[in-house]
């Protein structure tokens, strides 16, 4: 036994020593190079960081911005940069792209850690998050109240930015909603464009049943795990998940009750194709499975992806809820640009945004033409770009229509706890769809919400 082990050991030592030497030298080499590189990297970033703190940044006039879609909001910044450079030739902008959820997480971590050197000068904020950020991190975002002429923007968009008489940030894109529809399917079912104007949701369901019967196509999609439709319905009735003073808005809210009634009616009627994610949702209309899509104006790009469907689409106002004050217009999504109060280039960043996205018709015309983005800057609405007719939509001047509808969108306060309220609703939604008593369900949602925001 002992001898065997001894032999084995010698073997290992010989073989091992050889391989080990080889191994170790490679290892040493690689880690040396690597740590050298790493050290270079950190040294570089240190000098860069140091320069940022002192004269370097204000001298070089380099503004850093975080955005989440290089072909949309990132591209918008590039347009703004070009415009601003005409008068400020030494202006420099760096856009850092990341996923929207990643951006939010990074922002929260930086702000919570109180670390300034990692933050950009300009940041894109999703509208429902505005109040949340401003109240959770006081004195963090720059006040824009006198920097931009807000009377030139759609009021509902400005309302979202106003907190305690101060206005934070520059309104950017909007998600004014429309009902995209397949003209061919609806025609086949016996409906004309006029039949879709200013209808109620109950009428929509009736039409949907006809369409389903005559063409075999679904009227729309439904995804119980996504709050897009309920949000659209609520805002079209001038209401929201929470009240302006951040209380749950479920019990004794006629708009909420009607929203959920309509939602369940659509689900029960069988006119909606169930989908479980974004790609399925997009796929349903790209492959011609549904006759209508109720969505924000930014959906135009995805709809136009199916080039074979050119000329077969139209857009009508969305249907309306059967409650007082409800309109045929709403909004889905949208974002605004904020400047960080602690930024070394605060004034430059504010000036840049105010002169471009905050007050240039040319910016919005180019943003629409180049990226299909629609803003809420009213002077741009009468421009040629907004009036152009779209061949894909059968010659309809869709952007003119969308901007017209955007003026009717009810202004609401998005409050601080929108996401908590949406999740509370989502928790109960399966029960509602299974036929639970709506009053009880609303009571449960309200209770869950209050539990969450204590």
């Amino acid at each position: 036994m002992n001898i065997e082990i001894h032999e084995a050991l010698t073997q290992i030592k010989q073989k091992g020593l050889y391989t080990l030497k080889k191994w170790l030298s490679v290892l040493l080499l690689v880690s040396l190079t690597a740590s050298l590189l790493a050290a270079c990297g950190s040294a570089k970033s240190e000098t860069a960081g140091g320069a940022e703190g002192s004269e370097g940044k204000s001298g070089s006039k380099k503004v850093v911005a975080w955005a989440w879609d290089p072909s949309f909001n990132g591209a918008a910044l590039k347009i703004a940069e070009e415009l601003y450079k005409k008068d400020h030739p030494d202006f420099q902008l760096e856009v850092v792209d990341m996923a929207k959820t990643d951006l939010e997480q990074k922002l929260n971590t930086n702000l919570a850690a109180g670390v300034k050197d990692g933050l950009p000068d300009i940041i894109l904020v999703n509208d429902p998050n505005i109040q949340k950020y401003v109240t959770a991190y006081p004195n963090t975002f720059a006040d824009f109240t006198d920097k931009v002429d807000y009377s030139q923007f759609s009021p509902y968009k400005v309302d979202a930015l106003r907190i305690d008489d101060k206005i934070y940030g520059v309104p950017f894109d909007i998600g004014v909603t429309g009902m995209f529809y397949r003209t061919d399917y609806l025609e086949q079912a016996g409906f004309k464009a006029e039949d879709l104007e200013n209808i109620t949701w109950d009428r929509y369901i009736e039409i949907g049943k006809e369409v389903k019967e005559k063409t075999g196509k679904y009227m729309s999609t439904i995804n119980p795990n996504d709050e897009a439709l309920t949000s659209i319905l609520l805002q079209s009735g001038g209401s929201w998940y929470i009240t302006p003073d951040n209380k749950g808005n479920f019990v004794d809210n006629p708009v909420m009750a009607e929203t959920l009634r309509v939602y369940k009616a659509i689900s029960d009627s069988g006119i909606a194709k169930p989908v479980t994610g974004w790609s399925e949702f997009v796929g349903s209309f790209n492959s011609g499975d549904v006759a209508t899509v109720v969505s924000g104006v930014w959906q135009v790009a995805s709809i136009m992806d199916a080039k074979d469907q050119s000329g077969k689409w139209g857009v009508a106002p969305i249907p309306r809820l059967n409650v007082e004050g409800a309109v045929n217009a709403s909004n889905e999504g949208g974002s605004s640009w904020f400047v960080l109060e602690g930024s070394a280039n605060k004034d430059l960043a504010i000036d840049f945004l105010a002169k471009t996205i905050g007050g240039s018709s040319e910016f919005y015309e180019r943003f629409l033409k180049e990226n299909g983005g629609v803003g809420s800057y009213i002077p741009a609405f009468s421009s040629e770009a907004y009036g152009q007719e779209s061949e894909f939509f059968g010659g309809q001047a869709i952007y003119k229509d969308f901007t017209e509808w955007s003026k009717q969108v009810p202004g609401i306060s998005l409050g601080t706890y929108t996401q908590e309220a949406k999740d509370a609703l989502k928790n109960e939604l399966p029960n509602i769809l299974n036929g639970a008593d709506l009053k009880d369900s609303l009571f449960n949602i309200q209770r869950l919400f209050e539990q969450q925001v204590q």
Binding site: I12, A38, S42, K106, G118, G283, N286, D305
Partner: protein, 268 residues
């Protein structure tokens, strides 16, 4: 071994392999199709491959990101292997009550969800002036309780007689570790290398927070931002996914021989 049971084993392994590989086949097919075809569930190869690749290269800083990812993963893995095996060896071979207690304590560190320690960690790296560098990404991963535990458990079956014999031969404790333990435990090192490389390569949350500028980004960050656009192009995303997946597969191919050939073939 009976023919029938061998057939059964093959059948079982084939089914498991098919289930495992199916999503990869789908990914490879997707890489050659347009976004709308992918969404429609087209299950045959298309002709969009070169277009998807060109678009991806145009849209992103893929090369830089690849290099950043590789640097972080390779350096991180090397350090982890050395430091974690040292500790695993120390904790198991020289067991003592004090070390057992320390080890138990270290284990707690892997039980904490990362999201909860991220903010203090971020603050710490900011104070150290290391943010936005590969060092910041590598440092917290260079020893993990998880890998120490792995080496410790594997060391339990390490034949200690070899150490005694080595001592008789006059090797000191460090040499025993580098000349006897390390070569003997090659299969363990190989498995640890694969797992660690993979974890570092796919690491997402911490690089996202610690890296700040575009040119420092790693591959997963690029893929994540591609997938979240308003109008995502799945063809391009599929190419990016394949690019992200390939190196881990390569490492696996490179190292798998090490842990399946058997380590003590010479000791009978």
């Amino acid at each position: 071994m009976k023919k029938a049971s061998a057939l059964g084993v093959h059948l079982f392994l084939m089914i498991v392999s098919a289930i495992s590989l199916f999503p990869f086949l789908w990914m490879l097919i997707g890489m050659t199709n347009s976004s709308s075809d992918i969404v429609k569930g087209k299950f045959s190869f298309g002709s969009m491959l070169s277009e998807n690749i060109t678009k991806l290269l145009d849209m992103t800083t893929l090369g830089t990101a690849f290099w950043n990812s590789a640097l972080i993963a390779v350096v991180g893995t090397l350090f982890t292997l050395i430091l974690s095996s040292m500790a695993g060896y120390g904790f198991e071979i020289y067991r003592s009550r004090g070390k057992d207690r320390l080890f138990g304590l270290l284990m707690l560190s892997m039980m904490m969800p990362f999201a909860a320690v991220m903010i203090p960690l971020f603050r710490m790296f900011s104070r150290m002036g290391l943010l936005n560098s590969p060092t910041a990404v590598i440092l917290p991963t260079i020893t993990t309780a998880f890998m120490i535990f792995f080496f410790m458990q594997n060391t339990k079956s390490f034949p200690r007689e070899l150490l005694q014999a080595g001592r008789v031969d006059g090797l000191n404790e460090w040499r025993l570790f580098t000349r006897v333990y390390m070569p003997t435990m090659k299969p363990t090192y190989a498995a640890a290398a694969i797992i660690t490389f993979m974890n570092n390569w796919n690491n997402f949350l911490w690089p996202l927070i610690a890296l700040q500028t575009q040119e420092k980004k790693t591959l997963p960050l690029i893929v994540s931002s591609l997938a979240s656009s308003y109008n995502p192009d799945y063809g391009i995303i599929m190419v990016a996914i394949v690019v992200t997946t390939l190196p881990t597969v390569a490492i696996f191919f490179l190292l798998q021989k090490q842990f399946v050939q058997g380590m003590l073939g010479s000791v009978k």
